[in-house]
């Protein structure tokens, strides 16, 4: 898929509950095609401590408004600088990068999308794409506490939404893998979130023989498969999270699960 280097204009930058922002970017031109699971490498200007770009998942593409959405957790200087941007500011992005989630090949599949923390970001775009293909996916969203549960309304447009919080402030108490919905049968699981969560989901999937795709993170420099900084261990050796991933099928990873 063709990659672009674009100067996009901030059309919205909303502070959400917890420590998250929802940033919307637009362009005079039609935004390029992007697939669920892909990401952007975002330039952070005027941050002395942000030398390299920041990888951020494509949260959603609103084709009507010609808007690209990022859901960003503020963790350090770079993300905090992004949070300061105002409507009309320019953000330079390399987009779309990476592979994407695999669409199911059969009809009538029961699909489970598990997101943890800011790992829900790619799940919205994925849910929308699946709904568009006629599926009605189930979202299972885990967070530490109620205020880390984001974009629930948006998810509800595309499927059923279940939740867990570690402090029981919303949905069922505990981790996603404790949720009662997992007693149902699923044909495929897609997941993105903290590594321990993804490993637990992967273990559940493996045990129940469910096809499972995970979206990984790693430290990145180039974002396009050129520098080999971002590798992960696979059955075929080191692969780049940025270009061979970020989406991997768990059967190709060397996770001890």
């Amino acid at each position: 898929m063709r990659k672009y280097l674009l100067d996009l204009t901030v059309s919205g930058n909303e502070k959400l509950s917890g420590n998250y922002i929802l940033m919307k970017l637009t362009s005079e031109e039609r935004l390029p095609d992007m697939l669920p699971g892909q990401f952007a490498e975002v330039r952070v200007d005027n941050s002395p401590s942000t030398f390299l770009r920041r990888p951020i998942s494509i949260h959603f593409v609103d084709r009507d408004a010609n808007e690209l959405w990022f859901l960003i957790q503020l963790v350090g200087d770079g993300t905090r600088k992004l949070a300061e941007l105002k409507k009309g500011d320019i953000v330079n992005v390399m987009v779309p990068l990476g592979n994407s989630f695999t669409m199911p090949s059969l009809e009538q599949q029961e699909l489970l999308l598990v997101g943890g923390g800011v790992g829900i970001a790619p799940m919205l775009m994925l849910g929308a794409a699946l709904r568009n293909l006629g599926y009605y996916p189930t979202f299972l969203i885990g967070a530490r506490t109620k205020k880390d549960l984001l974009q629930l309304d948006a998810f509800e447009n595309y499927g059923k939404v279940y939740m867990t919080t570690e402090d029981a402030s919303c949905g069922e108490k505990g981790f996603v893998t404790n949720h009662s919905i997992l007693t149902q049968k699923f044909d495929k699981i897609y997941t993105c979130g903290p590594t321990p969560m993804m490993k637990a989901v992967a273990a559940y999937a493996a045990k129940n023989n469910i096809d499972c795709e995970v979206s990984l993170e790693n430290k990145m420099a180039c974002g396009v498969g050129a520098c080999l900084c971002c590798v992960t261990d696979t059955t075929e050796g080191h692969k780049c999270v940025c270009s061979d991933g970020p989406v991997f099928n768990i059967k190709d990873l060397k996770w001890q699960i």
Binding site: R2, Y4, F51, N218, A221, C222, V224, H238
Partner: protein, 304 residues
């Protein structure tokens, strides 16, 4: 429009801007962003005789105005390069150079020989300076004797343009450059990365799987520029300058310090179009200052 052509030994380049090994893949990774044939030369990823998996991850850490990497020469080996990659890239209308790495003199020689048979590869860059591999690598580049030994051996086996990439992790880089010149190199390129380290204070652990790694990016520029200036005052063969070049002004500084060409590495990650901007910027500088050719500024630093 000034004349941007420059020479490295017998190698003629349409402009003095190359991409640094390990930072630009095989060029293809950047072809959506720029017309890579406009670049003066593309130096592909470090290539070894056998397939190498490289180091475990994490392999990267950000530092003030720079980054550390610990890739460790991951590559599929020279035969895979010849069979699968070379056919794909060989007709790019620019100079494609292979960065040849190894752990033993024999490995270097064998790899160089194989690359020497490829019609469309006019030159190699001999990497005797990689700080990210345990055996060989940088060790060759840190003493005059071992540097001369590997260069002599490769020189016998490789007839085209031989550029030797020097390590900055030395007391006297000019001496190493002279040893390499004496051993038959057509050119030296410098600098490779500087050995550095980063720590996660909260976890009390190193940020790289290998504890130490190679520092690159804007932060190393003052050191690289000093070494290019020292080396170009010490040798007669052309010098290729790199280390922290982020824009055209930086590149011009290296040319003034004595480099006949430059390489751009880490900056490609920050702006995938940087090479084109540097080429255009050098041209604009030459026009503005009334120079007809880039050769008119090489080594033209006025030190009274």
């Amino acid at each position: 429009m000034a004349d941007l052509t420059t020479n490295i030994g017998n190698l003629v380049m349409k402009n003095p801007v190359m991409t640094a090994s390990g930072t630009f893949g095989y060029g293809e990774e950047f072809s959506d962003f720029i017309d890579i044939s406009r670049i003066g030369g593309i130096i592909v990823k470090g290539t070894t005789i056998k397939h190498r998996e490289g180091n475990p991850y994490p392999r990267m850490a950000e530092t003030p105005s720079g980054m550390l990497n610990a890739v460790g020469l991951q590559n599929k080996g020279v035969d895979y390069f010849i069979d699968h990659i070379y056919p794909r890239i060989k007709d790019t209308d620019t100079n494609i150079l292979v960065n040849v790495s190894g752990s033993t003199v024999e490995d270097y020689v064998a790899t160089a020989e194989k690359v020497g048979e490829l019609d469309k590869i006019p030159a190699i860059e001999l990497n005797i300076s990689c700080p990210n591999v345990k055996e060989g690598g940088m060790a060759f580049g840190t003493s005059c004797e071992s540097a001369a030994k590997v260069v002599s051996a490769v020189r016998k086996a490789y007839k085209k343009t031989l550029i030797v990439k020097l390590s900055p992790n030395v007391t006297n880089i000019a001496e190493i450059a002279m040893a390499v010149e004496g051993a038959g190199a057509d050119s030296v390129s410098l600098i490779n990365t500087i050995m550095g380290m980063a720590i996660d204070a909260e976890k009390r652990k190193p940020l790289l799987s290998t504890i130490t790694g190679g520092l690159s990016g804007a932060c190393v520029k003052p050191i690289a520029l000093r070494m290019v200036w020292q080396v170009s005052n010490a040798v007669k063969i052309p010098v290729v300058g790199l280390g922290g070049i982020m824009n055209a002004t930086d590149a011009i500084e290296f040319l003034l310090a004595g480099a006949s060409a430059v390489e751009i590495g880490t900056a490609n990650f920050i702006d995938p179009t940087v090479t084109i901007k540097v080429i255009d910027g050098i041209n604009a500088y030459l026009d503005k200052h009334g120079f007809k050719s880039v050769k008119d500024i090489i080594g033209q630093l006025e030190t009274k």
